[in-house]
């Protein structure tokens, strides 16, 4: 099952401008602290790490715990330095991995 991803990155930006990036990914973020219908604990299943790289250089990293709500939403800023790509990567339990790439043009 592939996760649904929504990412908002401005298509154009001025050089040196701080741009806001918003990302959302579908994921249950099962905390591991809930009891299931059969009385046993539901094992944890969460996204542990999110990274954003700008033209190959990491500009933002978030280490998530089970206290992050289902379908993790993250918004943050980065400075527009050059035209190119922003790559988002989520990794987590049970071999979860998802990536998304956005293009940006900087004038």
């Amino acid at each position: 099952m592939t996760a649904r991803i929504m990412a908002s990155v401005p298509a154009h930006a001025k050089r040196g401008e701080a741009i806001e990036i918003k990302t959302l990914i579908s994921h249950p973020m099962e905390s591991g602290y809930r009891v299931g219908p059969n009385g046993t604990m539901i094992p944890p299943d969460i996204i542990r790490l999110f990274t954003c790289t700008y033209n190959g250089e990491e500009v933002f990293r978030a280490e998530l715990s089970s206290a992050i709500a289902a379908n993790p939403f993250l918004s943050f800023f980065t400075t527009a330095v050059a035209s190119g790509t922003l790559a988002f990567r989520w990794t987590g339990d049970n071999g979860f991995e998802a990536t998304h790439i956005a293009e940006i043009t900087v004038e």
Partner: protein, 162 residues
Amino acid sequence: MPEPPTPQPSRRVFLRRTAAFAAASAAVAIWPPAPARATPEAMQRAIRAVLGEAEARPSKIMLDIPALVENGNAVPLTVSVESPMSEEDHVKAIHIFNERNPQPHVISITLGARAGRAKVATRIKLADSQQVIAIAEMSDGSFRSGSADVIVTLAACVEDLQ
């Protein structure tokens, strides 16, 4: 010589055992294993692990979170740190902790001068009314802290699926 038949447990013993078993099952159903809860002490330990020997000065961090939350499953949280975000003076990391979820850690964010603005937003789960604390690590090695109190009417994280 044929073996004597194994004595069957009498009806009385059977009933007694059944009753004991039923009582034991009921006890399990009524008192499920207590969910682990972080305590303010656990949060202090988690914060100490980030700070090391240093102390956090309470200043210049804004936590934007509703004071009264109806559903703790998804609480919007925005943390912003006042900083010029220059090469000499910027925020290196932001750590967020809570008092009463099963785990004190919420999220740790690594950023740098390139971020432009030290402002992040996410949605968190809150298992109870509690304090949320943010610790910012500055480029000069100092720490700042900020906090917000939240009242939660419907808890998250530990609700059962029964």
